[in-house]
């Protein structure tokens, strides 16, 4: 998802009887649905895994601004431009809420951000694909934010208080993102044949990468089992992916667009859509840094950070100067 393949550092999930008294009390609290707060005792593994997961999620929000930012100056109308700007601004806010949640776990924002810039910590694979036509902007809102919502709604119930509260705030804003995207694609699908073709082209390119957002099947992954025991992951990758397909296919049909999967068909028995095999080699390549835009994305973030250094320093120097003056004035008085 926005945080894909989060390592929990465990080899095996422990049962209650194998835990120390502290760990057992902690697990029982989670099982009872009581939120863990920043100052509560927590196992080191829980803390470290959450830092990884929340910071990956935050980085995804920040890097996720780049593919959309590509179209701000080229939006076809002032209305679409204003909507796109508002959406991108929301994503910056989502990043900030999440960095704040990570900071409650004893790291600073600059520390976790440095791990993004050095390439040590990843962001979602989806943001390594280019937005090559205007319909991509609608398709990203519809599919990518749609997939994000699928993942983020259950996380509103996760065990860590600051993370769950950040998710509640994020989810409130996400539905605007998905709807403006669908509205844009609908406008193009009902436009000229060329516009409809652009919408189809965008769906063709984004469909499979959107399905990869949920990560590889994890039903027998120890990390997934541990994260579920800790209630920082609520549904498995495949469950979320299936929900997404079931929800999205009728939306595509409504637009008269074709989902680019010849094996896609409704299964009367299961009550779900069956769909074709995902190209996991492509996913591995993108995660390993070899997607179409990985280098460009990271280069852009590093440049923004470096170019902003003088500004961050200047504001701090200005704040210090002002407070020194206040102290001096107070002494003189």
């Amino acid at each position: 998802m926005y945080a894909q393949m989060v390592d929990t550092g465990v080899k095996r999930v422990q049962g209650l009887d194998e835990m120390s008294a502290e760990e057992r009390a902690f697990q029982e609290r989670i099982d009872a649905g009581i939120k863990i707060e920043a100052k509560d005792w927590m196992p080191e593994g829980y803390r470290r895994t959450l830092i990884r997961q929340i910071s990956q999620h935050a980085h995804s929000e920040i890097v996720g601004q780049l593919p959309e930012g590509n179209w701000v100056t080229r939006a076809p109308s002032l209305k679409r431009k204003a909507i796109l700007l508002a959406k991108i601004q929301d994503e910056a806010g989502h990043g900030l809420y999440l960095y704040s949640a990570a900071e409650t776990l004893g790291v600073t924002r600059d520390q976790v951000y440095a791990d993004l810039l050095s390439g040590k910590v990843k962001y979602s694979s989806i943001f390594n694909y280019p937005t090559t036509n205007w319909a991509d902007i609608g398709t990203v809102g519809w599919l990518v934010d749609g997939a994000a919502i699928m993942n983020q709604i259950p996380l509103c119930r996760c065990s860590y208080g600051p993370y769950s509260r950040a998710m509640v705030r994020v989810c409130k804003e996400e539905s605007f993102h998905q709807r403006q995207g669908y509205d844009l694609v609908m406008t193009m699908a009902r436009g000229t044949p060329e516009q409809k073709q652009m919408a189809q082209d965008a769906l063709n390119r984004w469909w499979w990468p959107a399905l990869m957002m949920f990560g590889p099947p994890d039903s027998d992954s120890v990390h997934s089992a541990q994260s579920m025991q800790w209630k920082i992951k609520i549904l498995s990758n495949d469950e979320l992916r299936q929900k997404f397909v079931d929800q999205t296919v009728p939306q595509a049909e409504y637009l008269g667009l074709t989902v680019p999967d010849p094996e896609l068909k409704w299964n009367e028995d299961t009550g779900h859509y069956d769909f074709g095999e995902i190209d996991w080699e492509e996913f591995r390549q993108v995660v390993a840094g070899n997607g179409p835009c990985n280098r460009d994305r990271l280069r852009t973030r590093v440049k923004a950070w470096d170019d902003g250094a003088w500004f961050r320093d200047a504001l701090l120097a200005h704040a210090e100067k002002k407070s020194e003056r206040q102290v001096a004035a107070a002494k003189a008085a």
Partner: protein
């Protein structure tokens, strides 16, 4: 390089309501913290007023003291009006 300090943000959402903690952010000083809080936390008319407090100035009770602090209230259920039965016939009390 020095990091910008962390601020806790409180928003009053409506006249007559208390300021409520909504989250935190980084800013070099209080004035910038208010500006940033406006952008981060009030993009959809969520607020009428903003307070920012340096996070380092917040003192918090310790989770370990939870019992000592809050248990005494638990066994004083007579502090709640529902402790006292009101006869059916006596409505609106």
């Amino acid at each position: 390089m020095k990091e910008w300090p962390l601020w806790e943000v409180f928003i009053r959402s409506q006249h007559g309501l208390a300021h409520k903690h909504v989250g935190s952010l980084h800013a070099p000083d209080a004035e910038m913290a208010i500006n940033n809080a406006r952008d981060v936390y009030t993009r959809r008319n969520e607020g009428l007023s903003i307070w920012v407090v340096p996070a380092s100035e917040v003192s918090a009770s310790s989770p370990a003291d939870k019992e000592a602090l809050f248990e005494p209230a638990n066994n004083k259920i007579y502090r709640h009006p529902t402790f006292f039965p009101v006869p059916e016939e006596v409505k609106h009390m």
